[in-house]
């Protein structure tokens, strides 16, 4: 799909918001192509800030972020759009056009691939419709292609969100708390989908989570953030409760885990 397989590198990355809040502090981080990385940290730790820096939705105050060795452009324009074309994003609140069909929503993932006038007049090339349909196939909801997005359950809507990202044929997928609005059963299904897609297609995948047990269960590599700083970086297999305590700076509560019986 892509010769460049989606590596990410932060070098001395800092993001300070206009109101003075520090969103990212001295971040040095390297992510290899095809990795499945879970980012944990309490609310406000800077998880979203990190993800959104990778596709330029957040601008760096200093330092750089590179994708496959190319700096992420820090101003709007063609260069940034070309980068974003290769980076799919999945959101907590799905972000679908509810009154349009599933297919129309997934085709938004093809916007950067077709001439502007074709998208404008809804004259999508057969190839792009095909890619969109394959993306729906990959998340198992082809039968919903012509249904209005508003008629789907939360889990199905998030699958459409994933399909839209896949339709970009991306090298990287950024998922910002993709399961935070879903029930436990659906949560596990969506996490499994993300892992499976990562294995099948080798797309570098970064998932923000705030549930510790999910991070441990599905993560390959876990990154812990606290006040915008990298405080943990290691394999999910080795992460201990002690590490989590350090990341969160406090003991766990029921709110930190999805299945309560996991707390020791």
């Amino acid at each position: 799909m892509n010769e460049n397989q989606g590596s990410i590198r932060f070098t001395d990355g800092n993001i300070v918001y206009p109101n003075g809040t520090v969103g990212m502090k001295d971040l040095n981080l390297e992510i290899r192509p095809g990795e499945f990385v879970v980012i944990v940290g309490s609310s406000g730790a800077g998880k979203s800030t990190l993800l959104r820096a990778i596709n330029g939705l957040n601008r760096m105050t200093s330092g750089t972020v590179e994708v496959d060795g190319t700096k992420v452009p820090q101003k709007d324009g063609r260069e940034l759009r070309l980068l974003r074309k290769r980076v799919g994003m999945i959101f907590q609140d799905f972000r679908l056009v509810k009154r349009l069909t599933v297919m129309s929503n997934v085709l938004i993932g093809r916007l950067a691939h077709v001439p502007g006038w074709r998208a404008m007049f809804n004259l999508w090339p057969a190839h792009d419709r095909d890619v969109a349909m394959k993306a729906l196939e990959r998340v198992g909801i082809t039968e919903k292609a012509w249904v209005k997005a508003s008629q789907l359950s939360g889990g199905q809507q998030q699958r459409v969100g994933i399909a839209r990202a896949l339709a970009q044929e991306p090298a990287i997928i950024l998922a910002d708390e993709p399961v935070a609005s879903l029930d436990p059963v659906t949560t596990h299904q969506i996490m499994k989908d993300l892992v499976r897609i990562n294995r099948e297609l080798g797309i570098t995948t970064l998932v923000n989570l705030h549930f510790l047990d999910l991070a441990k269960q599905y993560g390959e590599r876990i990154i812990g953030l606290r006040f915008g700083e990298l405080v943990y970086d290691g394999s999910a297999a080795n992460v201990t409760d002690e590490d989590f305590r350090d990341i969160y700076g406090r003991d766990f509560t029921e709110d930190d885990v999805l299945d309560e019986d996991v707390i020791g």
Partner: protein, 260 residues
Amino acid sequence: MNVAPPKPARNWPLLIGTIAFLVGMTWWSGHGIGFSLTELLCNLAGGQRLLQESWPPDFAFLPRLYGPFLETIYIAIIGTVVGGILAIPVAVLAARNLTLGRVVWFADRNFMNILRTLPDLFWAMMFATAVGFGPVAGALALSVFTIAVISKLWSESLEAIDMGMPEAVRAAGGTWLQMIQFGAIPQGLQHYVSYALYAFELNVRASMVLGLVGAGGIGMILETQRANFEYERVTMIILAVLVAVLLIEQLSESIRKRLA
């Protein structure tokens, strides 16, 4: 526990002052335009004669209203469609969350305000000097009027949309235009249709008034018959207009209700 605050005492000086001010202003304004109650009472007799001459309505005249009436509707339709389309970019650029930078926003806001400040009759005069008196000038004037009405209302709805979807379009590598088309407009579509129908209602009425100054249609017939002292025909026209406007408003309102 909630303790109700004591009822504030009525501010008598303010109340009396306000009433005195309003009465004074009305007297002063009436004096200014030469309004006199005695004169009005004396003229009531003349008014009564006019009313008698205007009744009954001349129903035989009704078929001859058909053509002019259609013309009025055509003018309103053209004004709504042309103005409705042009209002889209004007509204989008006037919405703070969607516009293309402060300079464009500021310029567009001012443009919008100028359109809104000048009355439709002014635009009719302007276009009449350009293309001559007639239906075309009327339709052009109503187009401008429609831009003013829709862009003002719609830019405010657009400012209230959820910016999540537009951001998702940008995150997928979409251009500004695509962000507007695929992220913003779907959320504002219902409002747009509703405002366009509202503009159409206003345009039907405005189109009749413009007819009075020569833009054709029903308003022009009304003016001709009035000038010829054909008061029973005038009554017929007014009745027909009343019914037509009520029907159009009912129709438009029921569509808008269904959309909401």
